[in-house]
Symmetry: C2
Subunit: 308 residues, 2 copies
């Protein structure tokens, strides 16, 4: 699955950067392919620190004219979803970097973005401790930086999947842009915390680019490059979507994880009790390298031309 996408660029360039500064305590930089950078916490063996930056750009991640509160909500919820993807990390502090064109958007619009950020910060108990604004002649863009912690024993990375593991996804997939779900989604922090507290997940990530792009990433990182088998008929499609949309639309912000089959029954039963309104769907399995399906569909990639 050689894809000339965002992933590969970032990984290549980040690999060349120094990660071994004194006291850096890096367990895994982002070039390792996880959703967050993982750092040791001096004097605290029970926790790791997670760091993440993620952004939204007008015309790419939201349409010009989108209600500003929803833009702010989405901007903070994207890195929160990455914290969920590590196993339910606990976000603590956020910083906001915002660039806007005062000739294109009034101060009220930007104030609305901050209101949306505040709403998400209260919902997920994040302290927004800093920020920076700058004028730009270009489209409005924001970067959100998130710092927090996770219990080491609950931290699950992308690359731990094993051949024979069952693959699960939360929620429903597809149509996130058309339905505007991508503006209002709730990151699966509580769900990820519950999962990692009760089940020994082997691999975990969030679905931001579409299952069709993200599942190969998880498999590729696992066990030296595993294969997978996907039950397309089982895919939990959002209303009005077919399997192709569920694979390709992207921005689902649901969880994808791999688990040994012996836990399947307990997992499915306890999930239904704990989260009765959120589907949990077994969509396939990881296979030995070279076996399994190939995905003909390409997932969402920010480097592909597409209209937001």
């Amino acid at each position: 699955m050689a894809r000339g996408g965002e992933d590969e660029f970032v990984v290549e360039w980040l690999r060349a950067l120094p990660k071994n500064a004194p006291r850096a305590g890096v367990v895994a930089g982002a070039a390792a392919g996880d959703d967050c950078a993982i750092l040791r916490v001096p004097g605290d063996r029970a926790h790791w620190r997670l760091l993440k930056t993620d952004g939204v750009i007008e015309g790419v991640h939201f349409r010009a004219g989108t209600a500003p509160e929803r833009v702010g909500w989405k901007a903070l919820c994207r890195p929160l979803s990455d914290f969920a993807a590590m196993g339910g990390g606990r976000p603590e502090h956020a910083l906001i970097s915002l660039a806007w064109n005062p000739r294109a958007a009034g101060a009220d619009y930007v104030r609305g973005i901050y209101a949306g950020l505040g709403k998400a910060a209260r919902a997920f108990r994040v302290a927004i401790v800093g920020g920076e604004t700058a004028a730009t002649p270009g489209p409005l863009s924001m970067s959100v930086f998130l710092s927090g912690t996770i219990l080491r024993k609950h931290c699950v990375r992308r690359g731990g999947g094993r051949a024979g593991d069952l693959l699960y996804v939360t929620g429903r997939l597809g149509g996130s842009f058309a339905s505007e779900r991508h503006l209002d989604f709730r990151p699966r922090l509580a769900e990820a915390r519950w999962l990692t507290a009760h089940f020994p997940l082997h691999a975990l990530m969030d679905l931001s680019d579409g299952l069709g792009a993200d599942l190969p990433r998880l498999a590729r990182r696992s066990g030296g490059g595993l294969g997978w088998r996907l039950d397309r008929a089982a895919l939990p499609c959002a209303p009005g979507c077919d399997a192709t949309a569920a694979l390709n639309d992207g921005e689902d912000y649901e969880l994808l994880f791999a688990l040994a089959p012996r836990h399947a029954q307990t997992l499915e039963r306890s999930w239904r009790r704990r989260f009765p309104k959120i589907p949990l769907t077994r969509i396939g399995e990881l296979t030995a390298p070279g076996e399994g399906d190939d995905l003909d569909a390409r997932g969402f990639d920010h480097f592909c031309a597409r209209k937001a």
Copy 2:
């Protein structure tokens, strides 16, 4: 000095955001006006954690066509200068958020930016542990997030100045854009560390928007709003610059600090021994509220229209 600039917008909007999440341990958010957010470190009373985000945008902070290594260097050195401005904080981890238009700049240009980031990271011992790239139809922009620590006893904020304190600046001011010094400057981390280890500075900041804008900020935060007296003839002007340029050009990334007069002689003598190549200049003093000069010149402000 009511200025409708970047400062006031950010402060107003950030004030409305939640800062009291559980375990947030916020000593000061950025809305307090300091160069970095200050956080308590659980289980470590000797240190505080510093967080900062800062960015560069093509056409605002650098010209299109600038050598990419210099863009990367500047992008990391800007928040490093904010760490210096807190008293010489120790940077540990950085994350890079980069948005670029693949149709306008080739991959080699972006790779060059990462090379410049790497050079600055090695020079100042920062571990770059993560990043994100996105395509944008707009100008190239980057945000750099920096996390690190500082000895509490060495942390100096903007607002501690007292009437009668002497004001000092490091280096030479003015002409940073014309001379392209803004692309190659070295953040004053070592100098700030030495200063705070040896002298009880009352207030400290870095000069990013020009002394004409930054000095009023320091005075306004200090002692409920102090005045100042400025010795324009004493200003350490960069080659080819007059006092007006030194006040207004901005992007000097030098240190401005306030110190009780009784330390002046020792400071000036020891500084010359320790940093013989870097000027340290007494430029005036803080006065009681309502006394002193008024600056007729406006410093650099990113919300003012100007050509980079």
